[in-house]
Symmetry: C2
Subunit: 494 residues, 2 copies
């Protein structure tokens, strides 16, 4: 007999660079987002959820991530009854949609408009290990205020947020810098050529990696890098390079000292002086709000994002050490960043609108909390009511209904009940604290068996430990004490 030809089976796989999240991965993130939303709300920020899909036209090229300015989006063209329509794309961040939303609804929104947004964003980039094409962002922005009080508020809110989600004071620091100061430094260096300024920007972006000496070489004649390749320098004189080195290394013991150093670095540049004054005001406002340098510092060595933002720039770092993949200690590093970007909606309306904001890397923050053991402990599964007699499913349903009514997470075993061992294996896989058993004899006697699975596991692990041996891990209770006994066991482990 000829076999019928079947269509090939589809592959059961996420697309490359995408993944699924299970159980506590989902609920821990949801809880963190709710905690963050709570802080943002208390600061007067309102929720906004824009659509995941935007026109490519509206998204434009407003990419905040200077490290990856050319990364693509997932885009497709509308098909309107056969006619090709607009190009649409998945949002790649929450800032470009904010610009569109503000331009579209500006007549109905308060001014200034404080908004927060949280949700997935998508990047059409080459996936790599630990690098996904869909990930969460969690942003807060103030649109329509040019006041540095708005920037200071974002910094204070960021510090509060980190503490609320479980990063204690001392384990994080919020660093503040200002693009205007750098502009002043460029003036003081007499760098006016745009290409030359861009080269200086690229060089200071390497400050983190190559340090002061490396930056000096790269601003001058060039530098032999670790691989032996020669990197051409910008070609500035030593004297010309001096202000930018002074800028990058200007952090003093106190904010006042840092400010003094910065004043020296910008010389008589008007924009630089304005930038330094802004940093001074931010430091004063934060001090007035009780945010001292143990939480937020002026730190001109923060260079990430300086190329993108137009005024103050912020970065939150976790300062505790973790072991990297090679077993070396290193600081956990950045979990949030932001700053002022004053041309947010100009491309839509022609009007300049000042804005400042911050984006928290929710997944990195979750990773940090897991690293510190503050979340991610094995979560307790449901109480499992086993099925001894499949004709009495109603009895078992009544038990779980009682347990659930008492607020206890519970389920009846819904697989094939024939093999009782499989039911206990299921309870184990579910990480259940308790199994309930009611066979024909128990039913006739008005009792149920309660199996303490946590205790059972402990006894199995350490059979010699006397402390567990005199405690039975299975016992009989009257049926009407089911709920109270189960609760007692759960409470003994909580």
């Amino acid at each position: 007999m000829a076999k019928e030809k079947k269509a090939p089976k589809p592959k059961a796989q996420t697309p490359k660079g995408f993944r699924d999240y299970f159980g506590t991965e989902v609920t821990e993130r949801a809880e963190m987002l709710a905690q963050i939303a709570g802080v943002y709300h208390r600061y007067g920020f309102d929720a906004l959820e824009s659509s995941a899909v935007e026109t490519v036209e509206a998204l434009g090229k407003f990419l905040p991530d200077v490290d990856r300015p050319n990364e693509g989006v997932f885009a497709w063209q509308e098909d309107e009854d056969g006619d090709k329509g607009d190009w649409l794309a998945l949002r790649y961040d929450l800032t470009a949609p904010l610009a569109r939303v503000y331009a579209q609804h500006r007549n109905d929104l308060p001014l200034p408009y404080r908004r927060y947004a949280m949700g997935p964003v998508w990047r059409n980039e080459k996936p790599g290990p630990g690098r996904f094409r869909q990930f969460y962002q969690c942003d807060a922005d103030t649109v329509g205020s040019g006041s540095v009080a708005a920037d200071a508020e974002i910094c204070a809110m960021l510090a509060d947020t980190l503490e609320v989600v479980g990063i204690p004071r001392g384990d994080y620091i919020v660093r503040v810098n200002n693009r205007k100061v750098l502009n002043g430094v460029l003036e003081a260096m007499a760098v006016t050529d745009e290409a030359e300024a861009a080269a200086v920007m690229r060089t200071i972006d390497k400050f983190d990696k190559v340090g002061e000496a490396g930056v000096r070489e790269l601003l001058g004649k060039g530098r032999l890098d670790a691989s032996g390749a020669y990197i051409d320098g910008v070609g500035l004189s030593d004297a010309q390079a001096e202000p930018v080195i002074a800028f990058l290394t200007s952090k003093g013991e106190t904010a006042a000292q840092t400010i003094e150093n910065l004043k020296a670095a910008v010389g008589d540049s008007a924009i630089g002086t304005e930038g330094v004054a802004e940093l001074e005001q931010i430091a004063d406002l934060l001090a007035a709000g009780g945010y001292g340098p143990d939480r937020i510092v002026i730190d001109p060595s923060v260079v990430r994002g300086l190329g993108y933002y137009t005024g103050p720039v912020f970065e939150a770092e976790l300062t505790f050490e973790i072991l990297d993949e090679k077993g070396r200690k290193r600081q956990f590093g950045s979990v949030a960043g932001g700053g002022r970007y004053d041309d947010l909606v100009k491309r839509f309306t022609g009007q300049p609108v000042p804005a400042t904001g911050v984006s928290i890397g929710v997944d990195r923050l979750l990773a940090a909390l897991r690293e510190k053991g503050r979340i991610g402990s094995k979560t307790q599964g449901p109480v499992v009511v086993t099925v001894m007699d499949r004709d009495r499913m109603g009895d078992y349903q009544a038990m779980v209904a009682e347990l659930r009514s008492a607020g206890i997470r519970a389920e009846v075993y819904l697989g094939n009940p024939k093999n009782f061992g499989n039911q206990l294996k299921y309870a184990d896989k579910r990480n259940s604290p308790v199994a309930v058993i009611e066979g024909g004899d128990e039913k006739a006697n008005g009792v149920v068996q309660i199996k303490d699975l946590i205790l059972g596991a402990k006894i199995a692990e350490s059979a010699s430990l006397e402390e567990w041996q005199d405690r039975p891990n299975q016992f009989e209770v009257p049926r009407d004490q089911l709920v109270s006994k189960v609760r007692e066991i759960l409470e003994s482990y909580s």
Copy 2:
């Protein structure tokens, strides 16, 4: 001087069929989703968040919505360094991704696998008024259990969920039907031809609209519809049509009566008898769990979804009346639906895997709660600290920091403070309950002015009402009583 040519400004608009959600629209939905997740969790369901993007191959054509089986997805082709790759698409529901996830991870997942999922889905369909191309779904499914106890559990959970989100008992009903009973009815009618069976299915789908007499006509010779057009009938004899009419109208006073009627309708059909027995078991299990016919009923007139599901089918309806767009009273209608679909992962693995589940229409449920006035009352905005002296921003920041530390939502005015009237207009637009004012005189005297804006609005509304007149809506308090006085006002309105 020649003007420089500028690029045209992009339009600040969502794509057609998409929208933005602001403030309480976002937070009320988030709160409802958290409430629903709480019930699902208590029932032993685990969270799952799959990626928004799937391969078109994995999505297949597993569309659960029989009303719109041919609706498209938003899809695009991967570009891998210039080579065309897989076709990807946004998920159109949460069931197709569940099938893919279960097939992919089945060796690591418990069996049965109870999971819930909530999030946006996307449909590439013609947008219409109130019809969006991105909307939320909130699903719970049990994969790998063929037991009707799994179906009964879903029904009980659905009833609990509706009550938890704020629909009181009596305002909703969960109706249960069974596809197998219909199959038995078709057998009893001696309808074996597939095309004829499909024609009968299409006809019973119209039962809601045309009623018993209409269905009789459509099963027989045909029917003149309201517009005067003649609709051809299926061409069955009156005798042949009898069983399906008996099926659709078999709901009795009690579940037992309904079951008797159904037994008569299916005659000696084996599949029909099995279906009736399943409904009977579901009714018994629900009764054992305490879910009476005031919450969940066997109702063979539920036909929505019968074409798609393979066993029990459920639908939750809100039974209170609302006024439709023409001012006529009508029941609010369906807010959730589901059923058993036993070929969930077969297309991936070749193995049949039974599954049953429910999907809640979150946006419709929110609309229902708004309709009943249970949510959506104007939400209180933040306390606004006004700026009388822009050089003392630090003083105002200190005030909001104190208020926030006390858990009070508060913000300092961040717009241009020059015009004090604009600050009060802003507070009004923000729906602020209280404004705080500290000018130079107040500062010198160690006091602040507190303006009760809710009382102010009441006085403005009803100036003649004596009850408000002897209560001042602005008063002075010592600076160190700021927090306690503001709290007192907020509590008087809560």
